[in-house]
Amino acid sequence: MTEPLLAVTDLRTTFRAAGGRRARAVDGVSFTVAPEETVGIVGESGCGKSVTALSILRLIRAPGVIEAGSRIAFESRDLLTLPEREMRAIRGARIAMVFQEPMTSLDPVLTIGAQVAEVARVHAGASKRAAWAQAVEALQAVGFPDAAARARDYPHHLSGGMRQRAMIAMAIMMRPALLIADEPTTALDVTTQAQILGTLAALQSSMRMSMLLITHDLGIVAERAQRVIVMYAGQIVEEAPVRELFAAPRHPYTRALLAAVPRLGARRERLEAIPGQVPSADAWPDGCRFRARCAQAFDRCDTAPPLYQIGDAHRSRCHLDAPAAP
């Protein structure tokens, strides 16, 4: 296997919850992303998937901290020990990010051309004219018809889908090696979503980018990712190549999630609801964190399961997958 582009090892990110309690939102997460690979991270709200993304970019604000012992290696450098000045050169240039809310991430008083051009001014010291030309090119690449004219539009002139395209243009300006897309289409209509995911895939292959695609939507990872990481309660509970995950899911949470989602063309009498609620980060349960909601829980689940290796590229955090299960 080639050297990974990104290697996250034992990432732990902690916040202070109400009442001063410690909330370890990400608790011991390790994974890699290979060059040109798309890795999907799926999970429900509060599972730690977005905090993982923000940690990679070191965008965790105090009093949140990335704990000592966490490592994030990117292009053979440890991001967590870099001075902030060097981190700024990586953020937005080598690793770019697209968020869910294009309206709140764009400045309403600047034209989109100016905002996209700004990236080249900051990261490459480009002249105003050169940066503008590059911005128009980027807008064209992400699917703006008549990009030269549209570059003079303000964000409020654009639909949600076009605003998200403008955000993607900013993200790809410096030809990053890794694009982190956090729920990039969640706020959009389904037809717009399909177009934007298509654009992302086309850009990715033409620019030979890797992508970390974070979403709650299993359908999106099924269509867009090569490898999938399932997160629950701050931890990775399963990781597998995409086909294997959907054909032969191992972790009871993954299976329950797949059974809970209504699927087009597969109408069932009842959906298999998962009982109970997602636990909260300031009170992770002891032992297996899914135990209280799991139909297959047994006495061994009192002790926290490790991530068992169950195939070349398949891992599951469930005692049922222990190599010498009783």
Binding site: G219, E223, P262, R267, R268, A273, I274
Partner: protein, 270 residues
């Protein structure tokens, strides 16, 4: 998939309903043109039946739902509920009829008064419509909470203490409190996590079966609608462009817009 055939004769009938929002003059700049949010829409819903209403944002589905409940005044058309002309009713008879038509909102966080206990929220409609009082009303609240899967102790607590799925259960209990026959469910599960979404969808189906409820189920998620609706209407730019029994619509969509919508849904192959 077995769905009991709903009895003949519609409970709700909407004829040629339109809703126009007049042109608005902005303080600066040009005048915003008139918006036709709902354009000549007709539909029917039978007792115990679910009509799924799908469409993208801005297609007019929420406005249509609100016009049917007369929370917005339609610009033209007719709405008949239980053989009464809803648009001709004065305030008092309208209020009486509203008891039978309820609304469940998308956002379980914004739609519950944070200063009221859960018990008071569920009890409010019972009091307003004078359905019960005192201990009888308390018992009724406890029964409703039980019916939506919440322990009766929650009556003394406040909405902020609950998760999204539990709040949506409270919203459903509030709607059920006045014994409606028809509920407009406006994106009732779209803000919920997948594992909890299934709980609420199953609950809505169980309630339909036990209480014979009719639903107008508004959603942008086609797979949720396929799961819950008997018939589906597709809305695009204020109009219903296609409407058919659920199985037919998903198996053989006729309109290009419906085909496009279905093709855009990401699929899981197993």
């Amino acid at each position: 998939m077995t769905v009991a055939t709903p009895p003949a004769g519609p409970l709700l009938s909407v004829r040629a309903l339109s809703k126009r929002f007049p042109p608005r003059r902005a303080l600066f700049g040009e005048t915003a043109p008139e918006v036709v949010a709902v354009d000549d829409v007709s539909l029917e819903i039978g007792p115990g039946e679910t009509l799924g209403l799908v469409g993208e944002s801005g297609s007019g589905k929420t406005t249509l739902g609100r016009c049917i409940l007369r929370l917005l005044e339609p610009s033209a058309g007719a709405v008949t509920f239980a053989e009464q002309d809803l648009l001709a009713l004065d305030a008092e008879p309208l209020r009486a009829l509203r008891r039978e038509m309820q609304l469940v909102f998308q956002d379980p966080f914004a739609s519950l008064d944070p200063r009221m206990t859960v018990g008071a929220i569920v009890r409010e409609g019972i009091t307003i419509h004078r359905l019960a009082e005192g201990a009888a009303a308390d018992a009724r609240v406890a029964r409703l909470l039980d019916e939506v899967g919440l322990p009766k102790e929650v009556a003394a607590r406040y909405p902020h203490e609950f998760s999204g799925g539990q709040r949506q259960r409270i919203g459903i209990a509030r709607a059920l409190a006045v014994e409606p026959r028809f509920i407009v469910c406006d994106e009732p599960v779209s803000s919920l996590d997948v594992s909890v979404q299934a709980q609420v969808i199953n609950l809505l189906r169980d309630l339909q079966r036990t209480r014979g409820l009719a639903y107008l189920f508004i959603a942008h998620d086609l797979s949720v609608v396929e799961h819950i609706a008997h018939r589906v209407a597709v809305m695009y730019r204020g109009r219903i462009v296609e409407s058919a029994p659920t199985r037919d619509l998903f198996a053989a969509p006729q309109e290009p817009y419906t085909q496009q919508l279905l093709a855009a849904v990401p699929r899981m192959r197993a």
